[in-house]
């Protein structure tokens, strides 16, 4: 594994790794450090990697574990993800109807800003599920929670996002019919 070859992998996947780190850690600055560190760890551990596994899956797992370590170092795990029952009650509280059926591309920045405002306990599973594309079982084992607890946290996370987006820009929120419509709008932007 030469430095040049690794640098190519780095260039190809850096954004995705940094994205996960940013979603997990909340700030761009910390995300850049964490992404660099993840690649450095991958570089060092290259020999021990399973060649059958795609690089992206491997590096994303390294990044996820590194970010979770960083978060845990700051907060005790129990406090980080709260109590399942309390969260379940909160998740069943009535809320605004849907995070819009969809949001247009131009609202992506607003969504990202809203995600960054989420408390860690909601932001972390959200990032793993919707940025890291991990299923509930993977998230549960990474965070040391039950699958149901993950479901509750994600549900709460989305409720809070809807609320935040509604507060931030109800008037600019355009509820559109579906993904087809969204893609069409992307084309016109």
């Amino acid at each position: 594994m030469t430095e040049v070859a690794f640098a190519e992998l780095y260039t190809a996947h850096y954004r995705q790794v940094r994205g996960l780190c940013r979603q997990l850690l909340g700030t761009t600055e910390r995300a850049e450090d964490a992404a660099q560190e993840s690649f450095v760890r991958a570089y060092r551990a290259w020999a021990s990697r399973d060649p059958a596994q795609p690089f992206i899956a491997w590096i994303m797992r390294i990044a996820r574990n590194h970010c979770l370590d960083l978060l845990r170092r700051r907060t005790r795990e129990k406090a980080l993800f709260g109590d399942e029952e309390v969260e379940t009650v909160a998740a069943e509280a009535p809320d605004a109807d849907g995070l819009g059926k969809a949001l247009t591309n131009e609202r992506a920045a607003a969504v990202n800003a809203a995600v960054a405002k989420l408390p860690e306990r909601y932001r972390v599973p959200l990032a793993l599920a919707y940025f890291g594309d991990q299923d509930y079982d993977e998230i549960a084992s990474a965070l040391g929670l039950t699958r149901n607890h993950v479901g509750v946290l994600l549900c709460r996370a989305k409720q809070m996002l809807r609320q935040e987006l509604a507060d931030a820009g109800e008037r600019t929120l355009r509820v559109v019919g579906g993904r087809e419509r969204m893609s069409a709008e992307e084309g016109t932007l």
Binding site: E3, F6, A7, Y10, T11, Y14, R15, Q16, R18, G19, R22, Q23, T28, E32, Q36, E37, F39, V40, Y43, R44, T88, A91, E92, D95, G98, L99, G100, K101, A102, L103, N105, R107, A108, A109, V111, N112, V115, L126, A127, A129, Y130, F131, D133, D135, Y136, R147, N148, V150, G151, V152, L154, C155, K158, Q159, G178, R179, M182
Partner: protein, 540 residues
């Protein structure tokens, strides 16, 4: 059946329900339009989230990949250390040559007579003990140490402690003699440590005892400390020893470094050099030093033979033996007896003319000269007009330089030290920065691109150290003039402060210390200011 919970909907939309739960939900949804709509909305929401979260990442630039430090980096680091080390030597000497003498007092390395003497001696020891530590070895050794410190810092930032540990172990293995198999330690605090005449030690020997007698053979170095140390046997390496009384009668293959009240060589054969520190330092009649010999003490006597140069520092320096090359005597009196044979030049660095006494019959191959150490003049310099004139010129020079500095960097005018704690803290910061700045520069040096930056850091540090007294003077001046009804102009405060600083560093005895303290405190103020700037810049 009532509608399932929001959480169940959400999990179903993400495909996270067990098959049984999913089946139950589907059965319900088949009959409930509200739930179908809700599930559809949640699916779209998940898809939207996936798109939205990725969106921001496509635009941000990708920084360069910085691979973890490698062996190559370390080589670069050492090369940089050597480069910067050489550069700093050149820098200081050039700076010293380029700056008019009126401004030289700003230089923190310029100080009093006592200090000069001390540095002279240290320089002599450091640079002229070639057998044990040559200059080059010293430099490379120091470079290695500094490079490893930098390396450790580097590894620490990568949060890989074990690499740091491995590196430091390696450093210890390379830098230190292999302790395990080449060192024998003997200690007896209440009695003698004896190496008998028929005994041979094939290691470096470290001996600590009330008395240490070496009658046998040591095939290695000897390090001996005690009340009395006597070497009658044979040491093939170097001898480093400290005792009330040190006597060497045997044969030493390397260099002898002896310190004590009495340090004497009797009939000794020294393969390389001899350095003796003590009240009485005596190279006895039968002693033969192949290399150089130097004695530092109240009385320094040379009766034996020295193969190269001899230097004696003491109240009384007496030469009655043979020196193949030059003799330098530093003392109140330097006496050369009639039996003396000097192959090269004889120089007496004495207090007044006539203190170098050469008896009839002494043979001097080269020239003979007396250099009068201007001790008397130094002692009375507070009474001369020239001294005060010089100080006025210095004050003017420093004032103009300081004025330019404060004009260029207005932030320095506002620097303050409100209380004693702040003064101490600044002095501490100054000391820490003066020590760590070169290391920081080296760390920057790791990349080739970083080298100019490192040189810049280094130069800024040097300049900061240089101007630190002016900055402190400004603070002192402001403190003195703070009760004025209108805030005084910075020129006035600078002037008042400079007067105080110049008086302080010219005080007899404590001037040198005041100089150091003022320099470090001022440097600390500058460093704190820069740090505060950087911090506010980062949070803004």
């Amino acid at each position: 059946m009532t509608c399932p919970s929001e959480v169940t909907h959400s999990m179903y939309a993400d495909g996270a329900l067990s098959s049984r739960e999913a089946m139950l939900l589907e059965r319900h949804a088949a009959t409930c339009a509200a739930c179908r709509a809700r599930i559809e909305a949640l699916r779209e929401e998940s898809a939207m989230l996936r798109t939205a979260l990725r969106h921001a990442e496509d635009l941000a630039p990708i920084p360069r990949f910085v691979p973890p430090p490698s062996a190559r980096d370390f080589v670069v680091l050492i090369a940089s250390v050597v480069l910067i080390g050489g550069f700093s030597r050149a820098f200081w000497s050039t700076l010293a040559a380029a700056i008019p003498s009126e401004l030289k007092w700003l230089n923190p390395f310029e100080s009093g007579v006592l200090f000069d003497r001390a540095t002279e001696i240290v320089k002599f020891i450091v640079f002229e003990v070639p057998a044990m530590w040559t200059d080059a070895l010293n430099f490379i050794g120091a470079a290695l140490v500094v490079a490893f410190v930098a390396w450790l810092a580097l590894s620490a930032t990568r949060r890989r402690a074990f690499i740091g540990i491995a590196a430091s172990l390696l450093a210890a293995a390379i830098a230190l003699p292999s302790v395990g198999h080449a060192l024998e330690i003997r200690r007896n605090e209440n009695g003698p440590v004896i190496v008998a005449g028929d005994e041979t030690i094939n290691d470096t020997l470290m001996a600590f005892g009330q008395t240490v007698s070496i009658d046998g053979t040591v095939n290695g170095d000897l390090v001996a400390f005690g009340q009395e140390v006597v070497v009658r046997g044979n040491v093939t390496g170097n001898v480093v020893t400290g005792a009330q009384s040190v006597t060497i009668e045997g044969t030493v293959g390397g260099t002898v470094l002896g310190a004590g009240e009495d340090v004497r060589l009797e009939n000794a054969r020294i393969g390389r050099d001899f350095y003796g520190f003590g009240n009485d330092v005596d190279v006895g009649p039968g002693a033969n030093v192949t290399g150089n010999a130097a004695g530092f003490g109240e009385n320094v006597d040379l009766d034996g033979r020295v193969g190269v140069d001899f230097k004696g520092f003491g109240s009384r320096v007496t030469v009655s033996g043979a020196v193949e090359r030059n003799v330098d005597g530093f003392g109140q009196t330097v006496t050369v007896e009639s039996t003396a044979r000097i192959g090269g030049n004889l120089t007496g660095h004495v207090d007044s003319a006539g203190d170098l006494k050469v008896a009839d019959g002494a043979v001097i191959g080269g020239t003979r000269s007396e250099q009068i150490v201007e001790r008397e003049q130094r002692r009375n310099h507070y009474e001369t007009f020239g001294y005060y004139f010089g100080q006025v010129i210095r004050l003017a020079g420093a004032f103009l330089t300081g004025l330019a500095l404060l004009w260029l960097i207005p932030a320095l005018r506002e620097a303050s030290l409100p209380n004693a704690i702040a003064v101490l803290r600044s002095a501490g910061i100054g000391l820490a920065a003066a020590v760590t700045l070169p290391v920081a520069a080296l760390i920057i040096c790791v990349t080739i691109i970083g080298i100019p930056l490192a040189v810049l850091t280094f130069m800024l540090g040097a300049i900061g150290l240089y101007f630190s007294k002016a900055v402190l003077a400004q603070i002192i001046g402001r403190g003195v003039l703070r009760n004025r009804p209108t805030p005084p102009h910075f020129a006035a405060t600078l002037f008042v402060g400079l007067v105080i600083v110049i008086v302080a560093i010219n005080l007899p005895w404590i001037g040198g210390f005041a100089n150091l303290l003022l320099t470090l405190t001022g440097f600390g103020v500058i460093v704190s200011l820069i740090l505060a700037r950087l911090n506010s810049g980062a949070t803004a």
